[in-house]
C-alpha cells in the first residue's frame, strides 16, 4: 500500500510538471501525425497499392492508419521511460535513486504512467475523428477482444521496456539502441503494411515482436483482413513472445544491475 502511495505521488509530480510545459503534448501529437503523413499523402494524392495491402477501399485503410497510430502512441509512450533512466545515469543520480524506496525500474514505470495519459489524450481525438469520418461496423464482442489485445500488448510493451532498461544499464549508447528499435519496429511490426508484404529476409525478426501479432489481430477483428498465421496461432504467438521477452528482460536486468553495482553506473 505504501509503495502504491509513493507511485501515485511520483505520478502526480510528473503529471504537474508536464502540464506546466504544455507544448510537450502538442509536439507528441505532431510527431505521431508526422509518422503517418507520408502514408496519408500517398493515400490522398499518390498511387496507393490497395489490393496488395488487403483492404477493400481507401477509407478502410485510412481508418486502420488512425487506429494503428493511436495504438502505437501507447507503445512509444513506455519507451520514453528508458530515456529517464539514461538521464539518471548521465547526471550521476542513479546511485542515489537505488537507495530510494522505489527502485529505478519502478521509477521508470511511474514516469511511464504520465506518458500513457499523454498517449490517451492524443489517441481519443484521433479515434473520434476517424469514427465520424468512417462509420465502423464492428460488433461489441470484437471491440472487447480488441481491448484485450491492446491490454495484452501493453503488458508486452512493459516487458520490452524492462529489456531496454537492461540494455541501458549495460551500454552508454542505449538511446541509439532504442532509436534503432523505434525506427525499425513500425515497418517490421506491420504498422503501415501487412507483414505478408515484407521482404522474406525480415520476417523472422518481425515475428519476434509481440506488437506484430497485436496489429494483425486488430486488423482482423476490425476489418476482417486475414492474418498471416491462423488466428489462434497468432494469439499463442503473441503470448509466447511476451513471455519470452519477460524472461529475457528479467534475467538481463538483474544481471546488468548487479554488474553495474560492482563497477559503477556512469559510462559517459
Amino acid at each position: 500500500m505504501e509503495r502504491m502511495v509513493k507511485h501515485f505521488a511520483l505520478f502526480i509530480i510528473s503529471l504537474k510538471t508536464s502540464i506546466r510545459y504544455k507544448t510537450t503534448y502538442l509536439s507528441w501529437l505532431l510527431n505521431l501525425i508526422s509518422m503517418i503523413l507520408p502514408a496519408l499523402a500517398i493515400l490522398f494524392f499518390g498511387d496507393l497499392a490497395l489490393r496488395l495491402l488487403g483492404y477493400v477501399n481507401a477509407d478502410q485503410y485510412l481508418m486502420f492508419l488512425v487506429i494503428s497510430l493511436a495504438y502505437w502512441g501507447f507503445i512509444e509512450s513506455f519507451w520514453s521511460g528508458v530515456f529517464d533512466l539514461r538521464d539518471m545515469m548521465r547526471s550521476g543520480i542513479i546511485e542515489q535513486v537505488l537507495l530510494y524506496p522505489l527502485n529505478p525500474i519502478e521509477f521508470v514505470f511511474s514516469n511511464s504512467i504520465q506518458s500513457i495519459i499523454s498517449a490517451l489524450i492524443q489517441s481519443v481525438p484521433l479515434l473520434i475523428i476517424s469514427c465520424i469520418y468512417y462509420s465502423v461496423t464492428v460488433s461489441f464482442g470484437h471491440i472487447l477482444i480488441c481491448g484485450v489485445v491492446v491490454i495484452l500488448s501493453l503488458f508486452a510493451n512493459m516487458v520490452m521496456t524492462l529489456l531496454l532498461c537492461s540494455i541501458g544499464l549495460e551500454t552508454a549508447e542505449s538511446d541509439q539502441v532504442i532509436s534503432i528499435i523505434a525506427n525499425i519496429a513500425p515497418f517490421l511490426c506491420g504498422l503501415f503494411i501487412p507483414i505478408s508484404m515484407l521482404p522474406q529476409l525480415f520476417l523472422p525478426v518481425s515475428l519476434l515482436f509481440p506488437f506484430t501479432y497485436a496489429l494483425e489481430l486488430l486488423r482482423y477483428y476490425v476489418f476482417d483482413v486475414p492474418t498471416f498465421l491462423m488466428v489462434d496461432q497468432t494469439w499463442i504467438a503473441m503470448i509466447t513472445t511476451t513471455m519470452l521477452f519477460l524472461v529475457i528482460g528479467m534475467i538481463l536486468y538483474r544481471l546488468y544491475l548487479n554488474k553495474a553495482r560492482k563497477r559503477g553506473f556512469n559510462k559517459f
Binding site: T23, A41, L48, I180
Partner: protein
C-alpha cells in the same frame, strides 16, 4: 578544417549511432515505398527529403547542447567564426548524407527497387545538400529568435516534405496548395530527380535563387542575434 577534423573524430568514437544512421532511412522509407503502386518515384522523393531532415536536425540544433551545458560563451569567443563553424558542420554532414543515401539505395536494390539514373540522383543529392544547408541556416535564425521553433522542427520537416511532394506528384495538388509548393526549394529538386526535362536549368536556377535568399536572410538573423547576445550578455536567456 580543424573543427571538421574534430567533428569526424568525435563521431567515430560512437559505433551504434552509425548503425542507426545507416539503417534509419531504409526502415523509415520502406513502408511508404512498398505501399505505393509507383515505388521508384516515392523512393526518389523520400531520398531528396531525407537530405532536408539531416540538415534541419543538425544545423538549427547546433547551439542547443552548448546552450544547455552553458559553454556557448566559449564557442562565441573562439577565433573560428560562427559562419565557418556552420560551413564545417555542413560539409561533414554532406559526406555523411551521401554515404547514407548510397547505402540506402543499395539496400532497396537488394529488394528489386531501383533508380534509373543513379549518377544523376547522386549529383542531385550533392546539390540538395547545398540547398538544404542554406534553408537550415535560415531555420537556425528562426530558432535563435523564437526558441519554440526548435520544438516543432520535426513537424516542420514533414510539412515541408508534404508540400514538396515527397511521396506523390505535386501536379495532383489543388492550384492553391501548389503555389506554396513552388516556394520551397526542395520541390524543384524532387521534380528534377523524378523527371529530368528541358526545364531542368530553370528549376536549378530557382533552387539556387531561393536557397541563396534564405541563406543570406538566415545569416543576417544569426549575426543579429549573436550581436544582441554579445551586447546584452544574456548567454543563457534565449
Amino acid at each position: 578544417m580543424i573543427y571538421l577534423y574534430k567533428e569526424i573524430l568525435e563521431s567515430l568514437r560512437y559505433k551504434v549511432i552509425w548503425i542507426n544512421l545507416f539503417l534509419i532511412p531504409f526502415f523509415q522509407f520502406a513502408p511508404f515505398v512498398l505501399m505505393s503502386a509507383d515505388p521508384t518515384q516515392v523512393l526518389i522523393g523520400l531520398i531528396c527529403w531525407y537530405v532536408l531532415t539531416q540538415y534541419f536536425f543538425v544545423i538549427p540544433n547546433c547551439f542547443e547542447d552548448e546552450r544547455i551545458n552553458g559553454t556557448i560563451v566559449n564557442l562565441l569567443t573562439f577565433p573560428v567564426s560562427v559562419v565557418r563553424l556552420l560551413i564545417s558542420k555542413g560539409i561533414w554532414l554532406a559526406f555523411q548524407t551521401i554515404a547514407i543515401v548510397t547505402f540506402t539505395l543499395f539496400l532497396f536494390l537488394l529488394f528489386n527497387i531501383t533508380v534509373k539514373d543513379l549518377p544523376l540522383l547522386l549529383a542531385l543529392v550533392v546539390f540538395d545538400c547545398f540547398a538544404m544547408f542554406c534553408c537550415s541556416v535560415f531555420y537556425l535564425g528562426l530558432v535563435l529568435h523564437i526558441q519554440r521553433f526548435s520544438r516543432i522542427n520535426g513537424f516542420i520537416q514533414d510539412v515541408l516534405g508534404f508540400f514538396s511532394g515527397y511521396t506523390f506528384d505535386i501536379r495532383k495538388f489543388p492550384i492553391g496548395l501548389r503555389l506554396i509548393s513552388y516556394l520551397i526549394p526542395l520541390t524543384y529538386i524532387i521534380i528534377i530527380a523524378r523527371h529530368s526535362t528541358v526545364f531542368t536549368p530553370v528549376a536549378l536556377m530557382m533552387v539556387t535563387i531561393l536557397s541563396l535568399m534564405l541563406l543570406f536572410l538566415g545569416l543576417h538573423m544569426v549575426n543579429q542575434k549573436i550581436q544582441k547576445l554579445r551586447s546584452s550578455g544574456e548567454w543563457n536567456v534565449w
